[in-house]
Symmetry: C2
Amino acid sequence: MTPYTILPKSHYLHTEHHDKSILRVVSINVNGLRAAEKKGFMHWLAQSEADVVCLQETRLTHEQWDDKFKLEGWFAHLFPAEKAGYAGTSIYSRLPFVSVKNGLGFDLADTQGRFVEAEFDLGIGYPIYIASLYLPSGSSGEEAQARKDLFLAQYQTILATWRKENKSVIVCGDYNIVHKRIDIKNWSGNQKSSGCLPHERAWLDSLYDELGYVDTFREVRQESDVYSWWSNRGQARAKNVGWRIDYQVCSPDWKDRTVNAWVYKAQWFSDHAPVVIDYVINPKQGE
Amino acid sequence: MTPYTILPKSHYLHTEHHDKSILRVVSINVNGLRAAEKKGFMHWLAQSEADVVCLQETRLTHEQWDDKFKLEGWFAHLFPAEKAGYAGTSIYSRLPFVSVKNGLGFDLADTQGRFVEAEFDLGIGYPIYIASLYLPSGSSGEEAQARKDLFLAQYQTILATWRKENKSVIVCGDYNIVHKRIDIKNWSGNQKSSGCLPHERAWLDSLYDELGYVDTFREVRQESDVYSWWSNRGQARAKNVGWRIDYQVCSPDWKDRTVNAWVYKAQWFSDHAPVVIDYVINPKQGE
DNA sequence: CTTGCTAGG
DNA sequence: CCTAACAAG
């Protein structure tokens, strides 16, 4: 279906699966898929029992995507940045793609491989979409912050349109923004740091409070000190001085489907950790 | 005496030494002193019983020359290239320097840190000079070869002058030229390779045959299959597919002083190995 | 501090 | 294939 669909649809139908009533979705910024692979990421993926895995910052071209990134029983689609070794998103899936779409129709998303979306048929009467988003970092200066803010503005209009269309979607990704005090260890020290700026957090507020999207991790996990990213500098990860900036942002129909969520920290593939969420495909009425 | 003289001359006088009648001189292209240090080079140096050690391709600025490169009981002088992370030569010594001179008075030697010389007083009634030379590589193309050839021409006139002055000198270095068939494993396959070109080898001939300089290693070691550099590609070093391109080129007075010479291969600090030569300071008449 | 690129070897 | 710089995070 795409150059990266490595097995025919028929193969999937014969693949054993942990629980057909659950959809397990993973989001992780791999900080270079080649580096993550060397740390055992592909092996973890193969035994993760995940159904759909959204990667950010793959930093990999089509040419570099060789056999060691191919998994038996999985489909994969890569959307690299035009610039080699930079950014890029990807979706791996044990479910076949109905369709795949690169980009969002604006420059930063399309030239830097910052958004890719796959359509799936879960047999529920309407299509569902799972996307991998890599929001720009603003931490390297004013220009970077301006680009990030522009991305936020352009992307927000698209998110609003999707709600009007009643699109069923899970946007996995590295949003590079913490939402609330609970999402960062050093709240007071980062009020002027990109990723924790009031207007960035207000942008997430508007997604949830005005447009009705759901942070499904927080829906089922309210405790503090759970983060998805730690700086490489100093002993940040050892001390759990982290930020929760990787989310699965869902249309409202996924709220009641969310049954479990965790951050996988046992292994260290990247400066980000995988955010894993289990969704029931057919929730019982009133449950 | 220089910014890099880390101990006063008086200290040396109290330092135990293996054999005061022998001068042990080492030449090595370290391919980045920071990388070599991580592989144990500084530790090897400390216990080498060498008196003077000439380094090439230090790839280190003054600012980067920190405590881990300082050895108790040793003097050191660094001559970096103007361009950070590139080329550069250095001399470490347990003998105090009488004087130190950077460069040769022409552009390539002076801006790229390709020649540094130290004067020593061995108590023999005249000064001796030990230099570290890093001759340009010509292997990256025609322009590089032209720069190398220009260096050879300019340096040759200086070598001729030194002979007229009867200067006593040991020029340690990475000459990036093999001399004869015995100095390279794959002779026939490299007739068109920079470093094995007829005009380059003829340049070495002229040094030895016309100017009277001496390749002191070959003076005492005539066997084949002794090399000082192996490509990083493939299994070159494991298969001993090497080149002898690192020499101690001496004025004629050092010929009869040369008592032992070897290439130290037990450890692997760089793509080059240290060339170690022992000289008797006061050879007996007629010996 | 870490990734991957690039130039230089 | 290896080193160090660089830009980016």
